[in-house]
Amino acid sequence: MNGHPLLEARGVTVRFGGLTAVDQVSAAFAPGELVGIIGPNGAGKTTFFNALSGVIEPSEGELFALGQRLTGAKPHRFAQQGIARTFQTPRVFAELSVAANIDFGLQFAGRHRQASWLLKDETSILNLIGLAAQAALPAAAITPSQQRLLEIGMALATRPKLLLLDEVAAGLTESEIESMAQLIRRLRDDLDLSVIWIEHAVTTLLRHVERVLVLHQGRKIADGTPAEVVRNAEVVEAYLGDEMVDVA
Amino acid sequence: MTAGAWLELIASGLITGGVYALVALGLNLQYGLMRILNIAHGEFLMVGAFLTWMATTQFGISPLLMIPVAFALLMGAGLAVHRLVFRRLTRTSPNLDVFEARGLMVSFGLMFLVQNFAQLLWGGDLRGYDFLTEPVAIGSAQFAANKLLLLALALAFSAALIVTLKKTLYGKGVRALMQSPTGAQLVGIDTERLHPLMFGVGLGLSGVAGCLLSMTYTISPSMGEPYTVTALIVITLGGFGSMSGALVGGLALGVIEAVGMHFTSPSLKSLLSYGIFIAVLLWRPNGLFARK
């Protein structure tokens, strides 16, 4: 490591016409961190992710990956720098098989990147996310929660250093959410990944992450441990409500 | 150039522009509302023109009477086309982009079908008839009466459409749908009935344009395509989905072409139009007047 943060956002602002979706958000992410991002609907979380992965160019502000300036670069350059992401609604290649979907990332961004033996090839990745049995099925034929896992697998195939997960637990049952959280924990521990996780299942999230960012109306209103954040008056007022104080 | 000459030049530009606007409004209605880019639009204009020509020369019916008839017939055709073709596409397309692409291809096929059917029926020669060709003097300028009528009616129809869309409940429904399809449906606006109806209205308008054109110019089965292209240029200038943009854009394009042709040469007209078209599409893909 050269002393620079893995990914750094400085004063990132994203505007659509008259609407400011993300407002001067700054944050730095170190290797191996497990960070959660929470906030009410419309807080700008997904837009922030879009900026962090290069899908949208920020109207203002800068982005750096390991000290290298990535502001305005195309998404494939972000991927080549080791920043991978999933989408809120799984965007898998419906007509390709599950295995071919995973292989895609391996063929492009993941091709020249060094990574752990766990990400050696499609089979290893399929085993890691638990979809080995579905390998030959077309991606359109698996269940939505399996597609969620496939999304993660596709992102892993780019052999990233940092994984942006956008609401991967949405619509899952309590136990499914818990096993998803365990999987994310494992990914961070075994693959030495940094994981940034947007989630609405706040209770589960706060139990597993070490650091939480809270976004509200595009601004970052808190950045600390779960314990600190739930006691933050502004956060409570905007979002959590009093019941949450006991969670952390 | 004298004032009278300028007046004639600009007026002739407005006359062609009026027709452009009428055709563009129909195309815009279809694209803005339903995302159907109907490349065959001009062919239906041609059909309207030929029906009017046939009615006038073979049955002696006044072209003015044919205006509502052309509208009704072409609107019926539009309803049929939508029911037979585009409804199925709406059902079977997995997402909007695929629907748009397929709609484009289908209207491509329609263009081939209609243009060649017309050629089979009526032959490839130029046809025409005389109607209200006496000159009318306004100030120091002279105009053919039929051309003035063309401009007046084109503007009248365009205005009528825009006003209907703005004032009536139905029209508001259409505009709501154009802005937010899901929102409008949630409020209870019936897409199933509105879409074919508006598609029909769009084609009806191009039929009227064709009818009006037949009074003033000669017609041929291949006359439709240039109007489709021009309509595309107009709605690009005015903004996809913007009605008043199509009106203003159409008139503006007519004038630009007239002035451009006068000061350079007629053969540069196409070059100019396409040049503007590409420049606008590249620089402002949402049209010159689109709200960002």
Partner: protein, 323 residues
């Protein structure tokens, strides 16, 4: 995907096509030549447009550019040189056009490529009128019929060979990813801009080469003939009806249409065009994958569709609910 099998089929077809000039009549050779021309155009079109779903209507532009290159340089560069030049210049134009235009979505792209094609046509017409005074070129030194035939055959084989190889390559995978979900492919590391421009240039090179070769069939060429938008329209129609994302679809459709063209076009050209239009509509509605995707299941699917359609109709008649 069975590369060996595909290559064998290609080999066999090429061998058969080679025999035509020796055993076939003048008419048969002419028909085969048109067929090969459209096979090349539609196969190379599908190579890019079929997988990325960017519908290009610029084929006529590249064809015409190739034709003019050939007409202007045939004497100095010789036959193969003229073809190569046509391909190179068409590819260069495609790179410029693509760089300007390929960042736009499907419908805009289609409309823009059409606009640019017409712009090029009008520009060249105006140039010829204003600058050189004459419209069109006469070709004086013209190679033999068999040379032209062999060249176009070679181009057709090359186009299909390219399709076979590209499908198995990362390049082909990248294009398929772009067609499936461009943004997703980008986040997985595909440099979509580069891939699109390269694919577009490849398609243009083939069209330019074919244009250069075919120009000698007409001893006099002018913008209206070689930049005729119908060349582009027919290419797209054939590719779509045959199956733009398949390997053999375009070739299959090219054969069908050459037969149709030669039988219908001389007697009733309008009927030929109408058939084309109707077939395109039917195939987009009922067979979006094209002729090559026709399988036994498709027929059962159609039969079920018709049955449920009848049921709906009868149920609707019985109810007659006022709206």
């Amino acid at each position: 995907m069975n590369t060996k099998r595909d290559l064998l089929v290609l080999f066999a077809l090429a061998g058969w096509a080679l025999a035509v000039p020796h055993y076939g009549s003048e008419f048969a050779v002419s028909m085969a030549l048109t067929c090969l021309m459209y096979a090349t155009l539609s196969s190379s079109w599908s190579l890019f447009c079929g997988s990325t779903r960017y519908l290009s209507l610029a084929t006529s532009a590249f064809f015409g550019i190739g034709a003019y290159c050939s007409a202007l340089s045939l004497e100095q560069l010789g036959w193969l040189g003229a073809i190569g030049l046509g391909a190179a210049i068409a590819a260069a134009v495609a790179v410029v056009m693509g760089a300007a235009v390929l960042h736009l979505r499907g419908t805009y792209f289609a409309v823009l490529t059409f606009g640019m094609t017409e712009l090029i046509r009008h520009a060249i017409t105006t140039w010829e009128k204003q600058v050189t005074g004459t419209v069109g070129r006469v070709l004086t030194v013209v190679p033999e019929r068999d040379t032209v035939y062999l060249t176009v055959l070679g181009l057709a084989v090359l186009a299909i060979l390219a399709s076979i190889l590209v499908r198995r390559s990362r390049f082909g995978l990248a294009m398929a990813g772009i067609g499936a979900d461009e943004q997703r492919a980008q986040t997985l590391g595909v440099n979509t801009r580069l891939v699109k421009i390269s694919g577009f240039a490849l398609t243009a090179a083939f069209a330019g080469a074919v244009g250069a070769a075919m120009s000698v069939r007409w001893t006099y060429i002018d913008p209206a003939t070689v930049f005729n938008p119908f060349i582009g329209f027919q290419t797209v129609l054939i590719a779509l009806i045959g199956g733009a994302a398949t390997l053999w679809g375009p070739l299959l459709a090219a054969v069908v249409f050459s037969l149709l063209a030669e039988t219908l076009r001389l007697q009733l050209p309008q009927l030929y065009m109408m058939t084309l239009g109707l077939l395109l509509i039917l195939s987009v509605l009922y067979l979006p994958g094209g002729l090559a995707s026709l399988r036994r299941e498709t027929f059962t699917m159609w039969r079920d569709d018709i049955r449920s359609g009848w049921r709906e109709l009868r149920a609707g008649k019985a109810k007659k609910v006022p709206a």
